[in-house]
């Protein structure tokens, strides 16, 4: 198949899909086309969208590619969708999500150890929103469920992969700081 046509087909797939499409999924459709060629076509398409001053863009999120509008249209789109039920996440749920995202795979007891408070309700609401999922049970007494974030989580936060989570540089510094301070054993109260 002509490479221009490959690119056109991919564009149609991305346009019609409601979820990010991975290279593997595209390969399932274009089964005779080499993965390398598919990847090149996607990148080419991405560049074309950028270069042509189009009103859409192709972004890589949650393990795949998807077509979205440009940020500058946000005010109008927000107006259009303002009546839609919003998918609201509370601050507590966001905190819990952060703990899961950075420490996964993780059990509820481990989440609660960080938050210092019961995490039953928030875990449930994150599962309901499909931002996290159960991936198994930990082989310890009680066999607690193990949670991980989902691709939908990555997509919702505009991340390609978990490796793109913002590095919490300060955190390391803070840890070192704790060790240093307690090593010197200065006690004043």
């Amino acid at each position: 198949m002509e490479s221009a046509e490959t690119k056109n087909i991919i564009e149609a797939l991305l346009f019609a899909s409601s979820k990010p499409l991975s290279i593997r999924q595209i390969k399932e459709v274009l089964d005779k086309t080499d993965v390398q060629i598919i990847r090149q076509a996607v990148v080419k398409l991405q560049e074309e969208y950028k270069g042509d001053g189009r009103n859409f863009q192709i972004i890589e999120v949650g393990g795949g590619f998807r077509i979205t509008t440009l940020p500058r249209f946000a005010p109008w789109l927000k107006k259009l969708f303002s009546a839609q039920k919003k998918n609201i996440i509370s601050r507590q749920a966001l905190e819990t999500l952060a703990i899961i995202a950075y420490k996964q795979p993780i059990t509820r007891a481990e989440i609660e150890a960080v938050r210092g408070v019961n995490a039953d309700g928030v875990t449930h609401s994150l599962l309901e929103k499909r931002l996290i999922q159960v991936v198994g049970r930990k082989p310890v007494p009680g066999r607690p469920l193990i949670y991980r974030t989902t691709n939908r989580f990555l997509d919702s936060f505009g991340l390609k992969a978990l490796a793109d989570l913002p590095e919490i540089e300060e955190l390391k510094e803070v840890e070192e700081d704790v060790i240093r301070r307690f090593a010197s054993k200065n006690r004043q109260d």
């Binding site: 839609q84 039920k85 952060a98 408070v117 997509d155 700081d177």
Partner: protein, 245 residues
């Protein structure tokens, strides 16, 4: 723990559960922040005293205080007693297990870092919300994380109100007074007319401590129901109540 009997009538079964708010670590971080305390050198006896004061007020309000708050109170008192040990003994013990505060500080620092991480995630989500696709609706996090007043800032502001109202709750027993349900109704109609108002405005005309408490519970309930939210633009700044659209 039971609230005060005089409150139960006005509450008519309303019990604000705190699971939509946070736990004891959040309260400690709040105390550390408002007093600009060095997290690595927490004055345990002062913090313990303040922590217990908040706990007492939360009980008076008959908030559904989680058991974790009690556990933390016990932990704080335990640390405090250890810190009070005579120096010679303390030194010996220190060699074995270090600063009695170490574990608590570690927990606070770790919790704080995930709170910060949550802030980062909130920013990412709001950037992602600027672009639209054919998928499901995107995740909306609570109104600007950094500005939203937490429960403990609200309680701090409410304590000031209570000091001004004075302390005469028991006169109210006989008088039939406003209920939480009625206050919620009042607040809803107020917020329908005006998009926002100052937290203090709510208590301008309250006749008693009971009425103040009832109003405050109505605010918490509406925050929980996501009808309104509280905003505090800076530390110790005025708290404003806004309609959530």
């Amino acid at each position: 723990m039971a609230g005060f009997p005089w409150l139960s009538k006005s509450k008519e079964g309303y019990r604000v559960e705190l699971d939509t708010f946070s736990g004891p670590l959040e309260l400690l971080l709040h105390l550390i922040k408002v007093q600009e305390i060095d997290i690595y050198n927490i004055p345990i006896s002062r913090i313990t005293g303040q922590y217990l004061e908040y706990l007492k007020l939360m009980e008076e309000l008959d908030l559904d205080v989680a058991g974790e708050f009690m556990v933390m109170a016990a932990t704080l008192m335990h640390i405090k007693s250890k810190m009070l040990l005579p120096k010679e003994i303390a030194v010996v013990e220190e060699n074995e297990e270090g600063d009695p505060r170490a574990e608590l500080i570690e927990a606070l620092v770790e919790y704080k870092r995930y709170k910060q991480a949550a802030g980062h995630l909130g920013e990412l989500a709001s950037r992602r919300r600027e672009i639209f696709d054919r998928g499901e609706s995107s995740i909306v996090s609570d109104e600007d994380e950094t500005l939203e007043a937490d429960l403990f800032s609200l309680i701090a502001a409410f304590r000031k109100v209570l000091d001004e109202v004075g302390k005469e709750p028991f006169r109210e027993i006989t008088r039939s007074s406003v209920t939480v349900k009625e206050k919620i109704g009042e607040l809803l109609s107020l917020i329908r007319q005006r998009k926002e108002f100052a937290f203090s405005e709510l208590f301008r005309n309250v006749a008693s401590r009971l009425e103040a408490i009832v109003s405050f519970l109505a605010v918490l309930e509406l925050i929980k129901q996501r009808k309104i939210f509280a905003r505090q633009s800076k530390l110790f700044g005025e708290i404003r109540i806004l309609r959530r659209d």
